[in-house]
């Protein structure tokens, strides 16, 4: 369907292009859908309207995963786009394959200057090679926060949104005492419960500094504070302070929060825009994800996706793509993107420009920069740069299935995480064998 539309659009553009001045076209496949997908398409329209040399042909691929899957299939057939929006977990294979054009080099070759130091370090580290050069262009960036019902918190006598898990547990008790049974609408999420949790606590997910230093990495999360945390969540569910609310069960954690069923839910800051649009009948706000007492808070890392330029395209297409990426990096584009989505700015100047305008003082943007506070809380260290593991989509799936089994009472949390780690390690070994002799650039 999408490809048909795309080819129809291409045919149209081709005929239009032939009629008017010869514009250089390049294809860009993105994964965002719905309202966010429309905003991506709008960035292309803005780019196409801003100049008359290049034309971005932007094609939605119905989800992050499909965008990468379709690109791989197209790549193998030699019909891939110049730019693809890829989510973090999908890029280990791409990095090792080397079938991409690092954006730093692309920009230099195209003669365009980008101030790479301007990117927030938590974002820059995530998308760069070990020597600090950017692989891919940061684009839609987020980090997790928690959303809380201010009215219910006030009724329970909680004046400050807790920043520790101990405080959070006390809040659940206070909420219950005030007649609000469900504190937390919980949906298992590796991204929040494992990856970002580990970053904020400066504890490892895997050896080799979370995989950055070699392919022979092993998972460690069954031995860290993560296990205690998951056991606590399980206990809260048992005590009735938390309810499992997932999209599969028909009511997502966000739905539960908006109905007022539960007082807290965890999600990406990108949901800030959506929650606002859904107009809950109560006052609400966001806060950084909590850490346990006795742990010094560290930075969280960026989530979302970045833009990769693939190999095997013509110099002209690269030039066009470079111009599009440079266009996206302008403060105006950044403001357009940030104000129309729930995402956060990725550059310091972009953020400062928004601050100077008082952007975050007005609804619906108030406190949305809590995410930036979380992202920049400390300078990223060896354990808080991010995670660079192969087969990571499968590792996430193993974690998810095992945690679900534990929450359903089929096994203990310890057994579940042990199994997830053992199976994840098998996946990592397979991955290392597939790319024998290679290492992350």
């Amino acid at each position: 369907m999408n490809t048909k539309l795309a080819s129809a659009a291409l045919a149209l553009l081709a005929s239009a292009g032939a009629a008017s001045a010869e514009k250089i076209q390049f294809e860009y496949w993105y994964g965002l859908t719905g309202d966010l997908g429309k905003v991506v398409a709008e960035t292309c329209n803005r780019f196409n309207a801003s100049q008359d040399q290049y034309e971005a042909v932007c094609v939605g691929q119905d989800g992050y995963e499909k965008a990468v899957q379709n690109t791989i299939a197209a790549f193998r057939a030699g019909k891939h786009p110049t730019i693809v929006q890829s989510f973090d977990a999908g890029t280990a294979d791409l990095m090792l394959s080397g079938e991409f054009y690092p954006v730093k080099k692309l920009m230099e070759d195209a003669g365009l200057t980008i101030d790479w130091a301007n990117y927030f370090p938590g974002i820059a580290n995530y998308y760069s090679a070990s020597n600090g050069d950017f692989f891919s262009m940061p684009f839609n960036s987020s980090t997790p926060v928690y959303y809380y019902n201010k009215d219910q918190f006030a009724k329970a006598g909680i004046s400050e949104a807790p920043l520790t898990w101990e405080g959070m547990e006390a809040a659940f008790k206070a909420l219950k005492a005030s007649g609000q049974d469900c504190g937390l609408a919980y949906a298992p999420s590796t991204w929040i419960d494992l990856e970002q949790f580990s970053m904020a606590h400066n504890i490892p997910v895997a050896t080799n500094d979370n995989g950055y230093n070699g392919l022979d990495s092993e998972l460690l999360f069954n031995t860290t504070l993560h296990l205690t945390h998951m056991e606590n969540i399980q206990r809260w569910i048992g005590e009735g302070s938390a309810l499992i609310r997932t999209a599969q069960s028909g009511k997502s954690a966000r739905d539960s929060f908006i109905e007022g069923e539960c007082s807290v839910f965890f999600s990406s800051i990108a949901d800030h825009n959506t929650v606002h649009k859904l107009e809950p009948a109560f006052a609400w706000d966001v806060q950084m994800i909590p850490v346990y007492e006795g742990s010094a808070r560290h930075n969280t890392v960026v989530g979302g996706a970045s833009l990769w330029v693939l190999s095997g395209k013509s110099a002209e297409e690269y030039k066009a793509a470079a111009n599009y990426l440079a266009f996206l990096a302008t403060p105006e584009s950044e403001e357009f993107w940030v104000s129309n989505t729930g995402y956060i700015p990725v550059t310091k100047t972009g953020y400062d420009a928004l601050l100077a305008k008082g952007f975050y003082n007005n609804q619906p943007y108030v406190n949305r920069d809590i995410a930036l506070k979380s992202l920049t809380f400390t300078e990223p260290g060896p354990l808080t740069r991010g995670i660079r593991l192969g087969s990571f989509i499968q590792i996430r799936a193993e974690w998810q299935a095992e945690v679900e089994a534990a929450l359903a009472g089929q096994k203990t949390m310890k057994e579940a995480l042990d199994t997830a780690v053992a199976r994840g390690n098998d996946n990592l070994k397979r991955f290392a064998k597939t790319y024998a002799g290679k290492s992350f650039p």
Partner: protein, 293 residues
Amino acid sequence: MRRAYFKFSWVAMALLAPQLLIIFVFFYWPSAQAVYWAFTLEQPWGGGNTWVGFENFRNVLSDPYYWASVRVSVIYALGTTALAMVMAMTLAVFVDRQLAGYKAYRVALIWPYAIAAPAVGLAFRFVFNPNAGILSYVNTVAPGLWDPTQSAAQAVLTVVIAGAWKQVAYSFIFFLAALQSIPRSLTEAAAMDGARPLRRIWDLQLPLLTPTIFFLLVINITDSFTDSFGIVDTLTGGGPFRATDLMVYKIYADGFRGFDYSGAAAQSIILMLLVMALTFVQFRYVERRVHYT
């Protein structure tokens, strides 16, 4: 056994060629590719692969979760096939007896076949939703009784029902056609001898339907092994905790989502062999009981 011999003819070959080409391009070529990948570790972005012999098969076959997937696939196949065929047969008998309004039923009963599997999954996701669906009334009577997101057995039941519902229409068409091809004179003669409808079904129609039943058995079982993806994907996503991780769904999840092309290829080969073996068993042992007229 009679055999017919034909002389080699270029015209015949020319007429066959397009069909053979299609089968080659869409079946033999990808299958050969899958067999090759199953013995290697393939890098998803191209760039080479490593020959690993039977390692992919060893990995898959030594994985307890893979055997759980095989087990649930067999349950799904038998469950949907039995449910769909019994339902289809019952409905076809009613329509064949030309009960009031049978013409409208006939059309309505064929419709579900035209509905895409993901749409079926979505529709049943609503039906089985523990919080908002039709079955949520069960939970208002007995809270927490129905929750396919927490109960493996209930989750399997939901995919079986949805899968069966989708297959009813196909079987129904065949059953109805077969029932209608039974000469009226036979049923009328039986009726005159005093056989009631149930007796006529049991002694007359069912034995005459055995070729159709056999055909539908083979088709339904094959179909439920290979064509369950859309329903699982939209209804349960393989969960909760892998309870509905059918073999085809696992192939998709490992291969396309997880980029483990080689592991998925090995699983495809195993699935293909399994379906072939099942079909062989059916032809070898079940077909003996079929009476072709």
